[in-house]
Subunit: 246 residues, 2 copies
Amino acid sequence: MAGTLPGMTFEPLSRESVSDQVFGRLRDAVVAGRYAAGDPLPSERELAAAFGVNRHAIREALRRLQQLGLVKVSQGGATRVQDWRATAGLDLAMTLAAVGDVLPLATLNRDVLEMRACIGADAARLCAERADPAARAAIAAAVEEYAAAVPDLDLMAAADLAVWRRIVEGSGNIAYLLAYNSLTAGAVAVGHMPQPRRTAELLDVAAHRRLAELIGAGDAAGAEGAARALLTAAVATRSQMGNPRP
Amino acid sequence: MAGTLPGMTFEPLSRESVSDQVFGRLRDAVVAGRYAAGDPLPSERELAAAFGVNRHAIREALRRLQQLGLVKVSQGGATRVQDWRATAGLDLAMTLAAVGDVLPLATLNRDVLEMRACIGADAARLCAERADPAARAAIAAAVEEYAAAVPDLDLMAAADLAVWRRIVEGSGNIAYLLAYNSLTAGAVAVGHMPQPRRTAELLDVAAHRRLAELIGAGDAAGAEGAARALLTAAVATRSQMGNPRP
DNA sequence: ACGGATAACTGGTCCAACCAGTTGACGGGT
DNA sequence: ACCCGTCAACTGGTTGGACCAGTTATCCGT
């Protein structure tokens, strides 16, 4: 290891493409509310001059913003900012975590956990109801793999994600599957949910096994209850005391 | 009306921009599975030649596909197709309806309705639990507006959407709000859910009023139950007989 | 004061060249 | 025969400038 430098660490200097950076800046500006809904963005030529990049880079960024539902570009007219609370889809959540200015991270995290519980419980119900035998077997296998990782928390977290993915897949509901993708992608951005309570959920191997058995047995109501109990542990005890500081 | 033409109707000839068309074609190709996951897409220059358009148009489309989670572009290497079932977010659902080849429309519709019921019920619960007085009043007002539209089904549908938006807003859960946006955007694409059963849900003014009252009174469990009952009507009676033909 | 031509915007598209990474094939060394 | 560095031939990334195609606001004539 000739290249190992003593004592000094380098952050991996921005390899982000120009249009990615433009996209990030504009997204943050819009989400943070620095433009009111309906306001026109500066023209592409102005933005290009302001950022010191070519207009094509601006255009790529704007197209992506439009697809996210943050702006509406229309030929001839100006590109106008939209009210993202009314027009943006769940995919925005993935990118929202990175902003942090406009949304309190704690609230966003609570929201994601609530949605996870809601979807996960219903997916477990549907899974118990209509998953095919192969899917049920895959779930049982995933749970065993999870149980086998038992001392290593990181491994367990990854295996836990895999278990839930199998369950959501088994539910046969495409919308749940895509929402699950959105939520996990966002959770990764947040930083692996370092809540203390989540550890308890993660360590409850018995509950995972019970859930897998209920699904395997086709007990819809039981599976839903077990899933909800498991997933709500991290949220249920939220108090009225206010938000924990991040 | 000098311009009214007798007997002949014109479809509004494609005003879609070039890059939009490219985006649509590539998206459909990927979602329909015409490229296996991991396969490289043709190079930007090849695609430009194939579509007979400029490379920049291709690039804009590819950037959007990447953001949807359908492909992964990397400098120097090829742009590779991803497994959208594992990497795409809920926003894909909005655009999925237009494909129709790969997913049976009936199944997709059922999935959306299931998710709607799941989110809606939990949002109602949270709304009853923690919405501020203004939000509760807004819900009651929206319900009255909905009730006032009572003969006109289209108006009622729009008002119904507004009611649920208020409820989801009142839940204070950003993830629910964004997911709601994704689902309604997709539903519009599907075509206003022309199910026969949905009409019953739409016409149940009394149930809407009851729901608003329960939320106003802060009865979380009651509101959740009422919302679930209302939203499940369109899905609950699904039979084992198979999918209705679109 | 009204209404239509118009000029000055806006975004949309193209071309052509070059920069910057990745990949694989080719050839010299061991 | 095998291994490894070199390099040419890809890939996407970026730039500049020109022009097309809509929208909008101004201004002039009635």
